[in-house]
């Protein structure tokens, strides 16, 4: 340490520290300046001055001062600690850990530093280090409850649950008999439940249940107590006790599906995949019938039997289930029942059931076999259900007819418009779907959900500016971009990014995808505060659950979509780098002079506008910053709002690699991860990594058309490479040769033979045929044959519904993909056109194929203009002159 300060300055130094802790930064600065006047090189003071400035938004100065302070006093633990705090405030946890370690080398027993270090170790999952630090804290201060708990948790996280139990028991040993006092009963109870969960985790079930019973009076959370007990009883195979307990739990909450599951387990009527013998079904049926009599208000008890019942029994149960809900008007009925559509026979039964109800209500006004009339809304809800039913079955014509009938019956129900929008979307008419969603939105301008749904449809129809305008209606300050970003509104950013990607605006697309990635980084970051909070509050079970959730965070759907999107952008960017400014100039030169002028003017205006906006924003930011110093940090203006800088990246594949790594780590069971890995690594010429991706694809789904395509491309490419020159290259080619036989497709076959065999295996599938055709072409065979192979693909009827028409095998999405292959891979415009005409037949609502009933079809566009949607008489001299004519004819009571 540097020379100690004289008493007066030493006191001033204490004042700096205190001012820092109490956030009186100005006062702290003053004191620091007073010391530095006399001792301008005093390291600790320089450091503290830096730390204080850091809190006053003067980051560069802060770093400079802290580093200078450290340089002047390398032996000071204070200087190292401060340096660590500085890094921590910038989320540079690895660097911070290093600083703390240095500080501890000088002052090994400094509790404050040890505690800070332990938080960082928990955050970074440096579990061995975490255990070590926690142990040290406990031995330094065993009187502190938190130190016992912290040590136990660290052992648990470090996969040593039994050690954790020992520690907790030792801790309990230090407590008095009458512990806990009234104000700590909840915390103590939580600790006990945590300990029991540890026992359960270690498989010490008997001990766990004994402990549970022994401590019953000290456990405050009675519901958890019962749930844990019930689950332990099941695991211990003490089913009789378990059954009794689950019945108790059900009487407390008869809508908790887990209790029903537990009860089924206890009575020996549970199967993971929901398959039961007819005998078991009978038993389940009577079990739920008796439960249903007990819990008449429960909807779960009525809904669950629909999952296991079959045939006539299913039909009766479904009938009983559906009728009251249609009468009541439950818009979510279809989504409630939609899992049943995984069984085609149940879907058939439901269809017949609903059609019978419709028929009966239309003819008699009531349900079949009932004399009392249904309210008028029942017919509308029945039609509403049927529309969704036919939508689900792919019969869009019938679905639209049903929804239109419902709309005619009651044109004021918003759900009808939403469902119509959805049907149009499924049919492939995104423009009409967006229009319909907008109509739904207009009917209740205070409903955020319909607003959001409309925004999503607009984005699917690539109407980004309109979507932004609509989204902004529900953001608070009207500055929608930052606001939606601050709210971590990821569905919006993803849909927006995907739309930009479709439109080829890679910069903006990347911007959106990376924003989602940023949210995930923030969520990871957000756990930091809980490392100390949860230990203090003793919410240990939730804490562990939260940590495990965080460990799997990047496996989430939204993250995967964002990462996939970003990687695709980077691949596209690599394949066709953005135009440099000179190229743009060249293109400009080709334009006629008048256009050139216009374009230039436009550009200039746009630039000026952007500049002005940025200025205004930064001014606002400055004003905010001055008025509220240190309180709320005003975000700096985004210097790259349209992602143009992202496009300037030197090495797009390296950028892609960052996200690929996260996908490989967290989503290794997704085919797409390895397809992308293959694409990226082939471009990087990383042969072995590409091979690894192929092996993963082989593991996941060797019959997948994209996996097949990648496999053949790879070996074709490898064969065409020049003979290996260096040792490294030789090694690689040897590995590839040695690995080739592990792909059973290729065993003893040429690539062409493998391609033919693959075709034989999957000759009825469109996508497989397309992949084979692409490979025929790629392997240098006849292009005509390849195109013919695609064009001769059969589109079989998979589901026929008599007069209502039939559904064919091909999916719209796949047909669009094939159309793109024909256009871009084969460069065969004639074939692409033929394909489009053919698909327009299959998908009459598709805007992509300009089907006859889509809004892109020429005839449709014309007819729209002649039929205004509302009213037939356009205007009338005086308002409201004709009224009550039609409406009141039937109104006489």
């Amino acid at each position: 340490m540097g020379a100690p300060l004289p008493p007066k300055e030493a006191n001033l130094f204490k004042l700096i520290v205190k001012s820092y802790e109490t956030k009186q930064y100005k006062k702290g600065l003053k004191a620091a300046d007073a010391i530095l006047k006399k001792f301008p090189d005093h390291g600790e003071t320089l450091s503290m001055r830096g730390l204080t400035l850091n809190c006053m938004d003067r980051k560069p100065e802060a770093y400079e001062l802290v580093r200078l302070g450290l340089k002047n006093d390398l032996k000071s633990h204070v200087c190292w600690h401060v340096y660590g705090l500085l890094y921590r405030s910038d989320r540079e946890y690895r660097e911070a850990i290093k600083c703390y370690r240095n500080a501890l080398r000088i002052d090994p027993d400094n509790i404050e530093i040890l505690r800070d270090l332990s938080l960082l170790q928990a955050q970074m999952r440096d579990l061995a280090g975490f255990v070590e630090t926690r142990q040290q804290l406990l031995s330094l201060k065993p009187s502190h409850r938190m130190n016992w708990i912290g040590f136990a948790v660290s052992q648990h996280l470090n996969s040593n649950a039994s050690k954790a139990i020992d520690i907790l028991e030792a801790y309990e040993g230090t407590l008095e008999e009458d512990y806990p006092p009234d104000n700590e009963r909840c915390e103590h109870g939580e600790m006990l439940l945590y300990k029991i969960s540890l026992l359960e985790e270690c498989g010490l079930l008997e001990k766990a249940i004994l402990e549970l019973h022994k401590k019953e009076s000290k456990i405050v959370d009675k519901l958890s107590y019962k749930e844990v007990e019930a689950s332990l009883l099941v695991k211990l195979n003490r089913l009789h006790g378990g059954e009794k307990l689950y019945r108790v739990l059900l009487s407390m909450n008869p809508d908790n599906y887990r209790y029903y599951e537990g009860l089924q387990k206890c009575v020996g009527l549970y199967s993971q995949n929901g398959q039961y013998s007819s005998d078991e079904i009978d038993q389940l049926d009577s079990l739920y019938k008796s439960l249903g009599q007990q819990y008449t208000w429960s909807s779960a008890v009525k809904r669950i039997p629909l999952d296991f019942l079959e045939d006539v029994k299913f039909q009766n149960a479904a009938d009983n289930y559906i009728r009251p809900l249609l009468t009541k008007g439950v818009p979510s009925l279809f989504s409630d029942l939609s899992p049943l559509y995984d069984h085609p026979s149940k879907a058939d039964i439901l269809e017949k059931l609903l059609l019978d109800l419709e028929e009966s209500i239309k003819t008699t006004g009531g349900y079949p076999g009932r004399s009392d009339k249904e309210p008028p809304s029942t017919l509308m809800w029945t039609l509403f259900y049927l529309a969704q039913h036919y939508d689900r079955r792919g019969l869009y014509d019938v679905a639209l007819a049903k929804i239109d009938e419902a709309l005619q019956h009651t044109p004021t129900v918003i759900d009808l418009y939403s469902v119509k929008s959805k049907i149009l979307k499924h049919g492939g008419d995104f423009t009409a779907a967006a229009e319909m969603a907008d109509e739904a939105r207009c009917m209740d301008l205070a409903d955020r959900y319909v607003n959001s749904q409309c925004v999503k449809r607009m984005l699917q129809a690539d109407q980004v500016p309109l979507a932004e305008k609509t989204a902004v209606l529900f953001t608070k300050d009207g500055d929608q971009h930052n606001n939606l970003h601050d709210m971590q509104c990821m569905w919006y950013e993803l849909a927006c990014g995907e739309s930009y990607f479709r439109q080829g605006d890679l910069g903006r697309a990347l911007k959106k995808f990376l924003a989602v990635e940023k949210h995930y980084a923030d969520i990871t970051e957000d756990q930091f505060d809980f490392h100390s909070y949860c230990l203090r509050k003793m919410t240990l079970r939730s804490y562990i659950e939260m940590l495990r959730f965080q460990d799997r965070l990047h496996a989430q759907d939204y993250f995967r979509k964002a990462a996939v999107g970003a990687i695709k952008c980077y691949i596209k960017l690599y394949d066709s780098p953005s135009k440099s400014s000179t190229e743009e100039e060249d293109e400009l030169a080709k334009l006629p002079a008048s256009q050139k002028k216009k374009l230039r003017q436009k550009q200039r205006k746009a630039e000026a506008r952007a500049k002005k906006e940025a200025e205004v924003k930064s001014e606002e930011a400055n004003v905010g910053g001055v008025s509220k110093p240190g309180k709320r940090q005003v975000k700096p203006v985004d210097p790259d709002p349209h992602g143009e800088k992202l496009l300037q990246t030197e090495d797009p594949l390296m950028e892609a690699g960052k996200y690929l790594k996260l996908l490989q780590k967290h989503s290794s069971d997704f085919l797409e991860t390895h397809l992308l890995s293959f694409e990226v690594n082939m471009r990087k010429k990383k042969i072995l990594l590409a091979l690894q991706a192929l092996k993963q694809l082989q593991r996941l789904d060797p019959g997948n058309p994209d996996a097949h395509r990648s496999l053949l491309k790879f070996f074709h490419k490898v064969a065409s490479m020049p003979a290996p020159a260096t040792d490294g290259e030789k090694l690689i080619s040897e590995v590839v040769e040695a690995e080739r036989p592990t792909f059973s497709h290729l065993l003893g076959k040429s690539l062409m033979e493998a391609n033919t065999v693959f075709l034989e295996q999957h000759k009825d599938s469109l996508l497989h045929r397309a992949a084979v055709a692409e490979m025929i072409y790629c392997l240098g065979q006849n292009k005509g044959d390849a195109v013919k192979l695609i064009e001769e693909s059969p589109n079989n009827v998979v589901y026929s519904n008599g007069s209502h028409g039939s559904v064919r095998e091909w999916k719209l999405k796949d047909c669009v993909a094939v159309h793109k292959i024909l256009g871009t891979v084969f460069n065969d415009n004639d074939a692409a056109t033929r394909w489009k005409i053919r698909c327009a037949e299959y998908f009459p609502y598709s805007t992509y194929f300009e089907g006859q009933r889509s809004s892109t079809h020429a005839s449709k566009k014309d007819s729209k203009q002649t039929h205004p949607e509302n009213g037939s008489i356009e205007s009338h001299p005086s308002n409201a002159k004709i009224e009550n004519t039609k409406a009141l004819k039937d109104l006489a009571i």
Partner: protein
Amino acid sequence: MGAGRAASISLDGVRDKNLMQLKKLNSVLFPVRYNEKYYADVLASGEFTKLAYYSDICVGSIACRLEKKEGGAVRVYIMTLGVLAPYRGLGIGTKLLEHVLDLSSKQSNIGEIYLHVQTNNEDAINFYKKFGFEITETIQNYYTNITPPDCYVVTKYIGQSELKK
């Protein structure tokens, strides 16, 4: 007639957030496309314009215009009253009209409520008569696009005005 099970009927005001509901109703109920003035009057009439909900479905409406006369008196003009066809005969129209009558009787400066009805619309005329309305005037050639083109003015006097009469 009517549903066996009782369904709740409730009324709600018209605001710019749900104005579209009224527009949808009018587009199917009446052969007229109402102009902006109509909807401005609607929003200005406050409690005198209501949407009727039948188990949470919007199925009908009453829309009034408040006409200020000299001396602070107000006349209520019922611009539209209608219920979707499948939901008629359930007492919804009555409930809407009673709401306006009730409201008018509580406001001392309201002396009369009136509306126009096509002369051949007997159902409507009978309906209003039940609530104490009477035919006070006939206007020839009121309508331009429908036959008969004549209409009645149907009026109900309330409060002091009634005494005067």
